[in-house]
Symmetry: C2
Subunit: 262 residues, 2 copies
């Protein structure tokens, strides 16, 4: 019962070097491939490598910008913005992302997006979007799983080894200060590892253990990507996430009937 396990288990997270400023229409998969070639030790890819790409560059490449000058805020957005010292056009854009408003207080608007994510400000991003004027915001990718798949397929074709891909975003959470990076898109592996039915080290069944592997991979990547550096892509090596081509981020989303915090 007390013996050590097999040899050391290691995980390595490498920030890829030299991703340039990304613009609408750029071939992001090619930029990621170039950065893999440029980064010492990244190649050859291993079968269980995971490439983590931040939402911001995915959205930029896909041109998911909104020019606030084109936005006519509804009266509710104007009133809320005035009360909490926000930009009414930004509030309007957030409300347009919502299939449901979860909470609207303290200047925050927490919405459920059409993807099924519950996000402060609907994932709408006004920082680091490539405009010093503040007149532009960036939306989430249309289909983050598809964005991840496109990168996975192109990188796989180029290097002959097919990595997992995560599209990550920085999310707040109830009860705790601070944002963490979590997965909003996934390709090539299952975002949850289900250990129910397996037996723990004491021979008891692990009834409640479903690990949010994709989210933990996104968080590990954030530690090298940070927020200010122009480093939007990381390689996570050694996480060995569960195989599962065809899975998607919807595996992670809790259906309304199990959601105790609607």
């Amino acid at each position: 019962m007390s013996g050590p396990g097999p040899g050391p288990v290691r995980l390595e997270v490498i920030a890829l070097d030299g991703i340039p400023e990304v613009h609408p229409g750029d071939d992001l998969a090619s930029l990621v491939g170039d950065a893999l070639e440029r980064t010492a030790g990244a190649l050859p890819l291993r079968p269980d490598d995971v490439i983590v790409v931040t939402q911001k560059v995915v959205s930029k490449a896909e041109g998911a910008f909104v020019d606030l000058a084109t936005i006519e805020p509804r009266p509710e957005a104007v009133a809320y913005a005035a009360r909490w010292d926000r930009d009414a056009r930004q509030v309007e854009v957030v409300l347009r992302q919502a299939v449901r408003v979860v909470r609207m207080d303290h200047g925050v608007v927490i919405v459920e997006t059409r993807h099924g994510f519950i996000l402060a400000n609907g994932g709408v991003d006004a920082s680091n979007v490539g405009s010093a004027s503040g007149g532009v915001v960036l939306l989430l990718p249309d289909d983050p799983d598809a964005s991840a798949r496109a990168i996975r397929d192109a990188v796989g074709r180029r290097f002959g080894s097919v990595p997992g891909v995560v599209v990550s975003d920085s999310l707040g959470r109830p009860w705790r200060f601070g944002i963490m990076d979590l997965a909003i898109g996934v390709a090539g592996f299952r975002p949850l590892e289900d250990l129910r039915g397996t037996v723990d080290a004491d021979g008891r069944s692990m009834s409640a253990t479903i690990r949010a592997v994709a989210d933990e991979i996104a968080s590990a990547a954030e530690l090298v990507l940070g927020k200010t550096a122009r480093r939007p892509v990381a390689l996570v090596r050694g996480a060995s996430p569960p195989a599962g081509v065809g899975s998607g981020i919807s595996d992670v989303l809790m259906p309304p009937e199990l959601d105790l915090f609607r």
Copy 2:
């Protein structure tokens, strides 16, 4: 604007080898030190290394067990357990951890503990607690920051280099399936990195960016620790968390007036 940043940024996570089964009264800091010596590449420690120790072994060393045979469940616990096919004595133990019941539905009891954590089942743990009989559960450490500090101090004395320490626990979350490891105790660094007031790559202020560094470090560690292996301690190298001796996990906890999900 588009040049690459400084050289590659790397993070390494190393599962320590050879932590034995931990029992009440064991000197956990010595066991961690022995494991650091046993694990290839762990020593010498670097000033910004962080040692992540899972709650389970901290609680075991501190003897935070409850023998369910000694527990008399209140009527509310009996009724709830019967409805959701749970052990009434376990429900009773969970309720005794609560300063406030946040939600009680679907067989789950989400409580605020006296530490200020909001946790499913109050952090009470019935798996992997070293008993195949199921008659024993494990509580959270009394003061996880103090547990982390004790390990930090002892490891620092032994090796002459003082690492950060995180005590981690596996937590569920609203809206998403799956558990992630987060920090419940911290020593030697600030659990939040506050980037407000810094300027992003476009010259705009990053108004909403407070990074939950300790939580991300705990999540990264979980990727090598997993749930079934007897690997309760990891070394995270390269995260460079913000200095801050004297900080504690309470920095992370949101006060009631900002909590939109009470």
